[in-house]
Chain length 172, copies 2
């Protein structure tokens, strides 16, 4: 179902969604995770900022450059350095600003269907199209919103008693 316009609808909403969900929420929630080597909502927001600054538009531009090119590897741990010393509120502001910049740049490209078929080289997957990259950007937002909802809900797994049976969020 992907189109650039439908994708933009979601991408432009994510900063406000995360702000509505996380701004002012107690650290008991925002620093909670799903166990060792899993991420808290705070970690996820840092990850999204890094993607905005280092990955998504960088990869779009690599695909659009003459002859394409190879992507660098997405650094899935950058946020553990880059978020240090920052409040969640600061991170939410940074994400909103970074996303705004990315989407302004994306819109300025006025992508055509021909552009969407252009390819770059993913270090693991090989040739991928711009359409696949942009679809992945949108799905990646929803993947992490799903993760944050799950992390928050799961904190109640010992509190809900028999309702565990009806709540996928505390079991997954």
């Amino acid at each position: 179902m992907f189109s650039v316009e439908l994708g933009l609808e979601v991408l432009e909403r994510t900063p406000a969604v995360l702000r509505a969900l996380l701004q002012g929420l107690s650290p008991d929630w925002t620093n909670a995770n799903e166990g060792p080597d899993t991420w808290s909502p705070y970690d996820v927001v840092g990850h999204l900022i890094h993607g905005e600054r280092a990955d998504w538009m960088t990869r779009v531009n690599i695909i659009l450059q003459p002859g394409g090119g190879t992507f660098h590897t997405f650094d899935r741990f950058a946020q553990f350095r880059e978020s240090q010393g920052k409040s969640l509120s600061q991170l939410l502001d940074e994400f909103a600003a970074a996303r705004r910049d990315s989407l302004a740049a994306l819109r300025a490209l006025a992508l055509t269907d021909t552009d969407l078929d252009k390819t770059g080289t993913h270090p693991k997957f090989g040739a991928v199209t711009l359409r696949q990259l942009l679809s992945t950007w949108v799905a990646h937002d929803m993947d992490h919103l799903m993760q944050i909802s799950r992390v928050l809900g799961k904190q109640l797994k010992d509190d809900v008693g028999p309702w565990t049976e009806y709540l996928r969020v505390v079991r997954s």
Copy 2:
């Protein structure tokens, strides 16, 4: 980790989260579902409204009445009647108003730890405590936010190409 105050933090945010995510989004997104007998984001908002009006505070009050009482069954299909003819924007407004009313009533109860240990009878589970009910209300919000994120992300499952491997949201 449940406490009434931590629970309220999440419950009071959900209407704004859903509005930030869904208001003005194309029907291609908001009416999409995960296949036969699954719910769209539009359906989920209707379900949340019904819960607000018919279930959560009703059950709280049953537990607090002298001698407790038995809950009616939660109608998981009410939204298919009650949302008919309404726009998603109307439903988001209704949910925000209904949630505001529920939480005002909940706060007015000034619940004590003793209250939280009181029980009502669930038609399937038998005795459940007020603490379990309130925890479930919060987890239920996150369960449905997780569901909406998943439904939206999953619409891109045929578009993301090899990135399927990294995106739990399109596989689950």
